[in-house]
Symmetry: C2
Subunit: 388 residues, 2 copies
Amino acid sequence: MSTKEHFKLLKTDSGARAGELTTAHGKVATPVFLPVGSQATVKTLTPTEIRDTGFDMVLANTYHLYLRPGIDVIQELGGLHRFMAWAGAILTDSGGYQVFSLAPLCKIDDAGVTFRSHIDGSQHFFTPELAVSYQEALGADVMMVLDECTAYGDSEAKVRRAMHRTHQWAARCLNARKRDDLALYAIVQGGFSPEMRRESADYLTGLDFPGYAIGGLSVGEPKAVTLPVIETVTAGLPEGKPRYLMGVGAPEDIIEGVARGIDIFDCALPTRVARNGALYTRRGRVNIRRAEYRQRDAPLDSECDCYTCRTFSAAYLSHLFRSDELLALRLATLHNLRFIARLMGEIRSAILDGTFGTYRKDFLAGYKTTDEVTRVAQKGKWLKGREG
Amino acid sequence: MSTKEHFKLLKTDSGARAGELTTAHGKVATPVFLPVGSQATVKTLTPTEIRDTGFDMVLANTYHLYLRPGIDVIQELGGLHRFMAWAGAILTDSGGYQVFSLAPLCKIDDAGVTFRSHIDGSQHFFTPELAVSYQEALGADVMMVLDECTAYGDSEAKVRRAMHRTHQWAARCLNARKRDDLALYAIVQGGFSPEMRRESADYLTGLDFPGYAIGGLSVGEPKAVTLPVIETVTAGLPEGKPRYLMGVGAPEDIIEGVARGIDIFDCALPTRVARNGALYTRRGRVNIRRAEYRQRDAPLDSECDCYTCRTFSAAYLSHLFRSDELLALRLATLHNLRFIARLMGEIRSAILDGTFGTYRKDFLAGYKTTDEVTRVAQKGKWLKGREG
């Protein structure tokens, strides 16, 4: 299978798009959210549960898998799908973002990036060519180019240098490909400057990748800054290729991303906050540890059809969290992922029906978002000690 | 349903017995092993998984549930079965053992036991009557009397005093019962003295309980000391009542207990060691963290039919443990419990076929047990900081 037919755009509704990805591991309806399984496991869940919860594609991470168990180990065991017993599609991040955010002593030049392992301090070297060869060895259905990430607040000169390097590396990744059954996506950089974002989208569109990602967002900046960048980039990308907003997001951010033409999302947020007892409902995120749930003889969310809400009372879930029981983490993860899966399904139906505008308005009117101060503080805390 | 028909002895084979418990929550084939769910959850697993792994009965703990979430909370939520969504049978320990081993500042007199919570230091008072009323409120299919436990090495005088108090408390528990649909088991004490064990079995048999447990074993003593005590006690108990060996065990201990007439076992060991990466095979316990499993492209145990072994390679399981992934704990727990479930099924078939002697010999010949020094050291370590 070549990646020529990788994406089909089925319907647009204002800026929102409904489409379909075709991979060697099945078709994936878009807009889609990818649960994060950096270390070849979506934390706490089996592959059967991930599929039953409503997902056909997950994300794994080249940086993590390269360090442990090793790309060679997974290759010898028949590739990543077989290793983690996941028959659906897999997108792997190249590891660029993780090298910059997790690895101590990261040094970059035009050749590539030298870094130390966050696990044992050993030294390693990634190049664009190696990033592609690792992802081909893993057998990822969608691979990402190696890029250079910048942070919120970096100087224009630094952002520009990183963008140019990202462009050179994208071209090198394209040249390094050996398998045309796996799709390689480019990553648009350019920080928070509309001019640079337009330049980056233009340049990469010229290289004709089967898909385009937006990198360097959701890195601690206020939301008011994020959304215009997304608009700028999607306006500069070809209609017929999928757009992937990396590291986003929260339910309200997914809705706003879809409204601006995004097709693919991934984020550790729904699973990470689940393990802290923060659970999604249509009215917003609630904390199961609050006293009000201690004796509540009803599901956490009576509108939810997940295993947790079908089987247990909020009181039982509250008990598991208060007792530091491991089952709590599973049940909360199942709930939050099911919430996101239903959200994506509803978004897609609304787009196909031409009612996405109404759906978006109704959802956002009912959903109380985490306030900006809390959100930025949480993100900052997370960037310091996160799961990757 | 009255408890008159609580147990049916179907077949004996040398000392081993095959039988059946009847409860309001289904029949339970014996010999049976009860997975431990002290806090109303068998760590990491859903009720569906527990049942699918081959278990019809689990153990929960009155001490833990009394402290958190509170007996009243569970009662208001419709009892323990509904609270934890477990439709099978439940045996609750009275909390006697946990008060003595977990609670700081435990003070005992003939009236009952005063203790502080290991969670928040608050002071509490248990009596035999309260222990029964709590277990009736939980709705346990099998309840245990409140007993006084002694340790390995306690003086004869102390053991005798505790035994006599256990006998008085057993009679008080029997009088305190309000529900005759729930079976109340007595607990034989008497330390490591054959005379006292015989006296205790005699006295309690005279009170005519629907079942009898052996307490005060597996508390750090060498195995050579344990087995004769079991023989002494079962010889003194009525044939037509079930015998429950509390806190045992390891596969080899279950086999030896069955050979001495035990019908019911419970132990946190299979689930606890699973979470440390120690997994059962027919050749003995193996540690999945060992280097030999890192690249093994085969199930951990190719003879095993558990979800873990049917789905994943030993290499993947090894990766999850090395990466501190939560899924590791689930997969290992499923494996060890499935191993025990199959062991119990095979033991019962062998008894019904009259071939238990051969089965026992073959199993023990193939199964390398953890050496005594390691075992006693592990137990000591565990007694200091355990799950209950």
